[in-house]
Symmetry: C2
Subunit: 404 residues, 2 copies
């Protein structure tokens, strides 16, 4: 049984985390350097952005994870270390600094950066802060969580306990992500730690499979970042028999992982830049999963739909429009659409056409902070859910002048 517990990335045995302000950001009250440490080497897996422009840290992390092992994560915010001179060397130096400071191998370090693209990243403030960063390591994952945030307004952290083969295991994750979010095969920055024993192969299998229905179904603004990365470390300290193949234990692990990733997904979508609402689009009755996913993503990505939700306007025509241009092969004359929230549910379209409904009731439902759009394609049994947020004045404000 999966239980939500406290602790974030420090919930699982053997992990500590910390965060400091090292000086990459001018604002001294904002931490900008995070560290996560496993007291023993862990099996590790990761997925990365499919953007052809890849941040230098991703190149280095990918190389370091070739052996399926990692023991620490270092991540700075304020500078993406991407599209600049010598970015890979800087990322490698960051790994070297962690290795020296913690007495581990540089090739066991996961390195990540997030922030402005195209600026040189100065290693000096990072080097000068390594002692402090080590000193900040503890059982509180909040400092690390704060240090990886950029335009995020909320910390995004979740942790669970679960059982494998009678052994109590734990897993926790932290995430950052608010803009430039439209993942494709990977996403934003998410660091997950667990004390379950899982081989690196099975860990990669679990993560690669999970992101298809979680992070890859989130969109804030349609822009796939250059620095997206999700990593999982599994240090085995829970003492369960190592998961080396599919089966009951693997399924249990997948469920725990899915609980963590799904929670982080909703937190990321709900904290999209400028967002006032979390939007969930549930598609049912699709002829296959691809159709369901294509439709649900197209709807949560539509700027017009997102702006309508900001205005609590039940303008369902925009949903039909977004389904229509999604590229999915659907029978428009079979589509039903309803809106739901804690205030109830209201049907607005049946057989691809409008039905009479109370605008007043619709408004009441849409004024809530979490809205679900239910789309029944009535053409099969496949389903999918995508998450997004509304498009607001503040999205424009935040992105009209992000660099200053």
């Amino acid at each position: 049984m999966i239980k939500i517990i406290e602790g974030g990335v420090c919930a699982a045995k053997g992990y500590t985390a910390g965060g400091v302000h090292c000086g990459i950001r001018k604002n001294k009250t904002k931490k900008d350097l995070a560290l996560i440490f496993s007291e023993v080497p862990a099996n590790a897996a990761a997925v990365y952005t499919t953007n052809l422009v890849k941040g230098a840290p991703l190149v280095v992390t990918k190389e370091n994870l070739k052996d399926g092992k990692a023991q620490a994560v270092i991540c700075n915010s304020g500078n993406a270390n991407t599209c600049n001179e010598g970015g890979e060397e800087i990322a490698e130096e960051m790994c070297d600094l962690v290795a020296e400071t913690l007495g581990i191998k540089a090739s066991d370090v996961i390195v990540a950066s997030t922030g402005v693209i195209g600026q040189p990243l100065d290693i000096e403030p990072i080097a000068l802060s390594m002692a402090d960063l080590k000193g900040s390591l503890g059982n509180n994952s909040q400092d690390a969580n704060q240090a990886i945030m950029t335009t995020d307004t909320k910390e995004k952290s979740v942790s669970v306990s679960f059982e494998i083969g009678g052994k109590l295991c734990s897993m926790g994750g932290i995430a950052k992500g608010s803009g430039m979010i439209h993942p494709n095969m990977a996403t934003m920055l998410v660091f997950i730690t667990t004390d379950a024993a899982v081989s690196s192969e099975m860990l990669q299998k679990a993560l690669s499979s999970d992101v298809q229905n979680t992070f890859n179904m989130v969109s804030v603004d349609g822009d796939t970042s250059t620095n997206d990365m999700v990593t999982v470390m599994a240090n085995g300290l829970a003492g369960n028999e190592e998961i080396i193949s599919e089966g009951e234990d693997f399924n249990e692990f997948m469920c725990a992982l899915n609980t963590v990733t799904m929670s982080l997904c909703k937190m990321i979508a709900g904290d999209g830049e400028g967002a006032t609402k979390l939007l969930e689009c549930k598609v049912t009755g699709a002829k296959d999963e691809l159709t369901a996913k294509t439709v649900s993503k197209s709807v949560v990505c539509s700027s017009l739909f997102k702006a309508a939700m900001f205005g609590a306007d039940a303008n369902w025509g925009r949903i039909l429009c977004a389904i229509g241009y999604s590229g999915a092969d659907v029978d428009v004359s079979k589509i039903a659409v309803s809106f739901s929230s804690p205030k109830g549910e209201i049907l607005v379209c049946r057989n691809g056409r409008g039905v009479e409904f109370s605008e007043e009731k619709a408004k009441e439902i849409l004024l809530e902070e979490e809205i679900t759009v239910n789309i029944d394609l009535s053409s099969g049994k496949a389903q999918a859910t995508a998450w997004g947020c509304d498009l607001t004045y503040d999205y424009v404000k935040i992105n009209g002048d992000y660099r200053t």
Copy 2:
């Protein structure tokens, strides 16, 4: 030689146009019904939205244009006549009304609607206004232009004169389009009239080819409308020998058509919902045209790039990011990016990496109302240009509550 002239859709011989307020819109000062009439039957061609959800008027127009002939255009704004009960019957009734009023064949009428999706369209106000609408026909295309506008803030009209085989020909067009603009094979509503003699086959060929580099390269918000349509009528009154094949005359005609469509494109992009700037993205040095188009469209579609332009922020990293996720096969290490406007040009990225530049100068360039982003992929000779606009507070405002 192509010359810009006055007259809009009435510039060419034999065409009159008009517009009235019939009552589909509550605001009595806003015209909502337009008519364009050719005194003789014209050859006609059209391209339509590729959205799977298609407005009822498109279905009827497509049927009417099967014989390549048309003599009038009727278009209402305020209601898209889409995703509702009996939409096609209403569209047919609109054609019948025009046929009776003007004494022409109902199958020679192009019918179009634009506005809210999913509401029943009442034929009565249209029927009651036909006499007035006929009475409004004249040589001024402005009334028709105003009547097809929705959230447009500016009339979009252009006309040119040109010569074919020694005969002076004219061509003019009007357009509406401000939101839900991300054409695919066709676009927004555009009505073009010419007195040149062109067979319907060659007219279709010219139009289908032209839109690939004009309307299909415009994006306001990434949403492909359900009611997009571009039509051309050619009534032959200029007296040139009918164009029935490719050759010098066809090329001359294509140039005139391209002058008209390109102008309307820029007007549509520059008047995108809430827009304060027209953005042009010129890609050169691409290995093939598809690559150039993919890259330029991806950049003008990026919400992050659009918001940065609103803020006159030279955040070129977002351009690299949008190139990276476009799906185009490019060598990032060869990309150069510059911004230009009437205030000058500034290089911000070379070999895929940032170069030092004056933020002050960049700001001066980006504060202008027409900005060009020049992207050199340095990998070949193909090029393409796409048009868009900035993302502003007003886009959100306009679309947060469009229906009321």
